[in-house]
């Protein structure tokens, strides 16, 4: 690979880190460091969300008529028509600009002369897509996937250039975003966009255990994620309340542990989600949270949970996973073997949060085990013992583990490279400092629990969080690989997920994609209001930010 690729914003340090995690693919085409602040040169760019690294716009107005506009591959592109991925990506774009054209564009700037009077030399006729390097058409996106792209809007042919298909996916929505419509005429300013993400891990957490989310709802969420350049679906698939994941190895888990037999994700459903996500450059990160949050596992798997005792007798209730039995680990080993095959992503989320020690404390066999192991009264040590065994299993499967912050809190000997997700809001900056000082990569969620709703414009609070605003060395900052907006499911299901998530999550989306200096709230308001209307036009029921209206609403 000799071509010079596009610039990337993230520094070599991060890549070194990722290499240390064993997830770095050879990336010969890294460009020079780009740290310039974003430029937004004309009001027209009020349409863009999240804001690209650089936008240069001239006052020159180009126009496009839907009937006379084509998408195509550049002859030099490494991703030709056989790139299913790319075609599909283009098809999404193409469909937008044809079948659903009216709803998704805006009606601000009317072409003054009417459609018959457009000078030919100002017509935009084609968007040509060019992938410079091995396009990775048939692979899955990963944390090192290159999402950078250049978009040059000029007549007669606009050019979208990217190192890989992932960049094409990120760029393509901006083609649409740049356009303004008035009935049949769309206009765009001549412009040049150079763009790449600030953080490589930009996630949305959905919880399908507290409430089951129908597949359609998940796919809709993936669409909206792509519109906001999110690239990780963190699927908190099971928890205390229900076990909707249908395991091939242990079918009883969902047979007995799901809410009902129709509240289940079959292997085919899971494949559908993964493939749908892949076409949008989104990774699917499965979470099977243990040893706590596992009440639903007990229904379909005998002896996996700890029996709780009440005055020397089993009380009939159950606690966390039973960490003292060999059978527990052989079960988990088989289950995670399956999961590591079903989910192609390099990462598996193991949970490890909020383990309640009461039940362990009540159980004589557990106490006996503690004595034998010399754990004293420290149940944290028992939890660490458990987590370490599971972490070892995952390493043996050549996967990387992500855990909730408690696993680090509890001073477990964490396998180097294990990613820690920080979720407790109190003093989270301090926690970031400690975890990164110990050399572990982190994902931030603490300020972004979107299920915690309140009256008014709470998105500004999410927007103004600066992930790297903690005391630490540049090396420590490099360990922050990104963040996730979490929409936990206690009070959320298919009826209210979409309006609760969007556009509030969009605030997080821009924070994780755009430059650190993009913090002007007034500008964010202007752009987000339009972005929200664009989402509504694309069939995402994103709720309003303020009193006002969208041109194309009310057809939901």
């Amino acid at each position: 690979m000799e071509q010079r690729g596009l610039g990337r914003l993230r520094l070599p340090g991060l890549l070194a880190l990722l290499a240390a995690l064993g997830v770095l693919v050879v990336q010969a085409a890294l460009g020079r460091r780009r740290a310039q602040t974003p430029r937004i040169s004309a009001s027209r760019n009020q349409n863009l969300w999240p804001l690209p690294v650089t936008v240069r716009t001239t006052p020159r107005l180009l126009y496009l008529s839907p009937g006379n506009f084509f998408f195509g591959h550049s002859p030099t592109s490494k991703a030709g028509p056989s790139c299913r991925m790319n075609n599909n990506g283009l098809k999404i774009c193409f469909n937008f600009s044809h079948t659903g054209i009216m709803p998704i564009f805006f009606g601000f700037d009317k072409w003054p002369l009417g459609s018959d009077n457009v000078p030919r030399k100002m017509e935009l006729q084609k968007l040509e897509v060019s992938v410079i390097m091995d396009p990775e058409c048939d692979s899955f996106p990963s944390i090192t996937s290159d999402e950078s792209y250049n978009l040059l809007v000029q007549e007669p042919v606009a050019k979208l250039t990217a190192n890989r298909v992932w960049g094409v996916l990120r760029g393509k929505f901006f083609v649409v975003s740049l356009l303004f419509s008035s009935k049949e005429i769309f206009t765009a300013n001549e412009s040049n966009i150079v763009d790449s993400p600030r953080f490589p891990h930009r996630g949305i957490l959905i919880d399908t255990s507290r409430h089951f989310l129908p597949i359609k709802t998940i796919l809709k969420t993936l669409d909206a994620m792509a519109f906001n350049k999110f690239n990780v679906l963190h699927w908190h698939i099971v928890d205390d309340q229900s076990f909707p994941y249908q395991s091939i190895t242990f079918p009883e888990l969902s047979n007995k542990g799901s809410y009902s037999l129709s509240h289940v994700y079959t292997p085919n459903d899971v494949r559908t989600v993964i493939e749908y996500a892949r076409f949008r450059g989104i990774r699917v990160l499965p979470e099977f949270d243990s040893p706590g949050h596992t009440a639903s596992w007990g229904k379909g798997q005998k002896d996996v949970l700890t029996p709780c005792y009440h005055s020397r007798e089993p009380s009939g209730t159950f606690g966390p996973i039973n960490p003292i039995l060999n059978s527990t680990y052989s079960f988990l080993s088989k289950l995670f073997k399956e999961i590591s095959t079903v989910f192609p992503d390099k990462f598996i989320h193991l949970g490890g949060d909020e383990v309640d020690f009461h039940c362990w404390k009540s159980n004589p066999a557990v106490l006996h085990f503690m004595r034998n192991k010399g754990f004293g009264k420290k149940f944290e040590k028992l939890q660490s013992f458990y987590m370490q065994k599971v972490l070892d299993m995952i390493s043996a499967m050549k996967k990387t583990s992500i855990v909730w912050q408690e696993v680090f809190d509890d001073e477990g000997k964490l396998t180097p490279g294990t990613v820690v997700q920080v979720w407790k809001k109190r003093n989270f900056h301090m926690k970031l400092r400690k975890i990164t000082a110990a050399g572990f990569p982190v994902i931030i969620s603490a300020p972004w629990y979107l299920d915690l709703i309140s009256y008014g414009e709470d998105w500004t609070g999410y927007y103004l969080v600066e992930p790297l605003n903690f005391a630490g060395t540049p090396e420590q900052k490099q360990l922050v690989i990104g963040g996730e907006a979490c929409i936990w499911g206690e009070y959320v299901d298919a009826t209210n997920l979409t309006p609760r998530l969007w556009p509030r999550a969009s605030a997080v989306g821009e924070r994780l994609w755009s430059h650190q200096d993009v913090t002007d709230l007034e500008d964010a308001y202007r752009r987000l209001i339009r972005h929200r209307c664009r989402m509504v036009g694309r069939g995402i029921a994103a709720q309003p930010l303020l009193p006002g209206y969208c041109e194309h609403e009310g057809r939901m």
Binding site: H211, T217, S260, S454, N496, G548, E553, G554
Partner: protein, 523 residues
């Protein structure tokens, strides 16, 4: 309410027997048993009893029969499997007796009797019959094999308060007609009977006036797409009528009127900065005769378009800053001898307006400020209490309003647009509208309340899940006996009712963790 305690213990005992737990809001008196009857959808009929004053041709009931058939059996009616074991004989029809032909009465009492001899719905008015039909529909349940059943049941029911309202705001965000009609459906499921339509406000003027078309042309968000035409308004009124719901139209003045300005030059007060007009506008200009001529003509139209006896005239949150800045207003104040008391100016405006509206034979509802600012109003004015803490706690305000002899509507604790994390319906549910210090006569002046869904952050994308089932908590408070206030009992029924709403296609959000057999399907 004599004897209500005894009745209540009876009804609680009955409540845990079988399917009655599906009822929302809870009826005044119910007796039910384990004995059940089968219902065959293809042959089941709603039928007028021979002695009924209402017969075929009564549009309200004719259409209701059709609606409830569809709701209950849908298209399943034709592939209905035959039951294997019959507990008792099948139930062939529900006989309806309506005693009064007239449809004016607000009262809606009804008796629903389902036993071996009869399945009878007896009610004073057609409106009571509508409420009874809803109750009947909630009693019917389906076995896993698909058979429809109804248990032997005896219900006597009537509302605790006659005014059970829901406010929608179509100015801050436009709500498509379909959103409004869908809301009316769900209101009927909850036995709400007043749709308070806050049609216009500062943000936009979507009501299409035929006397002053410029109001809409210049004041709506988009005069082509974001308006309610005369036809739309008629449709809302008729759709509501068929569900026993009154449409209470609100045209809020003199504040909250920015959107009126572009369409009626001179209507709003020009604000001054120093000695020059600043280019901004304040409330309606109360100093000009033109203003009252305009209002006179405008409200003549409104009085004609909206058939309900009551109009809502607003009167809340008038900001005096602009009036204070304007020299013409100051001169007017001096002329009238109002001194520096702008409340007197506000009173002057409101009184003039009230006189106009009463001349059209209408009654009116106003927000509490009109009362707080001591505007002299007619004794039959209804005061809507909306402020939680200021100037006094709403409980105190209810006492003040009623001790002055006015009828009161409660909304303060029921602002559903205010959202918080978790099961906030409980707090909404536990509000007791009569928990203020006052005589029985005062309590009798509380005619009901309204759940309000203001539109600053609400439009058709999030209206339905934000409204339901939370507004259901208000609905039961206003319909059921005061003593129906056990949260566990309410939770069980409301969770069940919420699933029933999903089955009926309503995007009602969850109360807690769990699931419904039929989940909401994304379109």
């Amino acid at each position: 309410m004599a004897g209500s305690t005894l009745r209540f213990s009876l009804l609680l005992a009955a409540a845990f027997a079988g399917r009655a737990t599906a009822l929302w809001p809870w009826p005044q008196y119910i007796q039910t048993s384990e004995l059940r009857y089968t219902i065959f959808p293809h042959s089941f009929q709603f039928q007028y009893h021979l002695s009924s004053a209402a017969q075929v041709g009564c549009s309200v009931l004719d259409e209701a029969f059709q609606r409830y058939r569809d709701l209950l059996f849908g298209s399943a009616a034709f592939r209905f499997p035959h039951p294997i074991v019959l507990t008792t004989g099948p139930l062939g029809k529900l006989l309806i007796v309506v005693l009064q032909r007239t449809c004016d009465s607000l009262k809606s009492e009804d008796t629903l009797t389902i036993n071996d001899e009869q399945c009878l719905l007896l009610s004073e008015t057609v409106w009571g019959a509508l409420r009874g039909l809803e109750t009947f529909s909630q009693l019917i349940w389906r076995s896993p094999e698909g058979t429809f059943y109804v248990n032997k049941t005896d219900i006597e029911d009537f509302p605790r308060f006659p005014h059970r309202g829901l406010l929608l705001d179509t100015s801050r965000h436009y709500l498509p007609l379909s959103s409004i009609l869908d809301t009316l459906d769900v209101m009927a499921y909850n036995k709400f009977n007043v749709f308070h339509w806050h049609l216009v406000d500062d943000s936009s003027f979507p009501y299409e006036s035929f006397t002053f078309p410029d109001l809409t042309k210049k004041g709506s968000y988009n005069p082509a797409t974001h308006i309610y035409t005369a036809q739309d308004v008629k449709e809302v009124i008729e759709y509501a009528r068929l569900r026993g719901i009154r449409v209470l139209a609100e045209f809020d003045t003199p504040g909250h009127t920015l959107s009126w300005g572009p369409g009626v030059p001179g209507l709003l007060t020009p604000c001054y900065s120093g000695s020059h007009p600043s280019g901004t506008f304040g409330p309606v200009n109360p100093a000009l005769n033109n203003t009252y001529e305009f209002m006179s003509t405008f409200f003549l139209e409104i009085s004609t378009v909206f058939p309900d006896f009551y109009l809502h005239l607003g009167g809340d949150e008038v900001d005096f800053t602009c009036w204070k800045s304007n020299p013409d207003i100051q001169a007017f104040m001096k002329k009238k001898g109002f001194g520096d008391d702008f409340k007197k100016l506000e009173s002057f405006y409101i009184q003039t307006l009230l006189d106009i509206v009463s001349a059209y034979g209408k009654g009116y509802v106003v927000w509490q400020e009109v009362f707080d600012n001591k505007v002299k109003v007619r004794p039959d004015t209804i005061i809507q209490v909306w402020r939680e803490e200021i100037p006094v706690k709403y409980v105190k305000e209810m006492a003040l309003v009623t001790s002055a002899g006015f009828r009161a509507l409660l909304s303060a604790p029921w602002y559903l647009n205010h959202i918080t994390y978790g099961p906030d319906w409980k707090e909404i549910y536990l509000v007791e509208p009569l928990a203020f210090e006052g005589s029985p006569e005062q309590k009798a002046l509380v005619i009901g309340g309204e759940a309000c869904m203001w539109g600053e952050y609400v439009d058709s994308t999030n209206l339905v899940p934000r409204l339901w089932p939370r507004a259901g908590a208000v609905a039961e408070r206003l319909w059921s006996n005061k003593m129906v206030s056990n949260l566990d009992f309410a939770f069980k029924r409301l969770a069940h009712f919420r699933c029933e709403l999903l089955r009926r296609g309503v995007q009602a959000q969850p109360l807690s963790v769990g699931y419904c057999d039929m989940e909401f399907e994304q379109t």
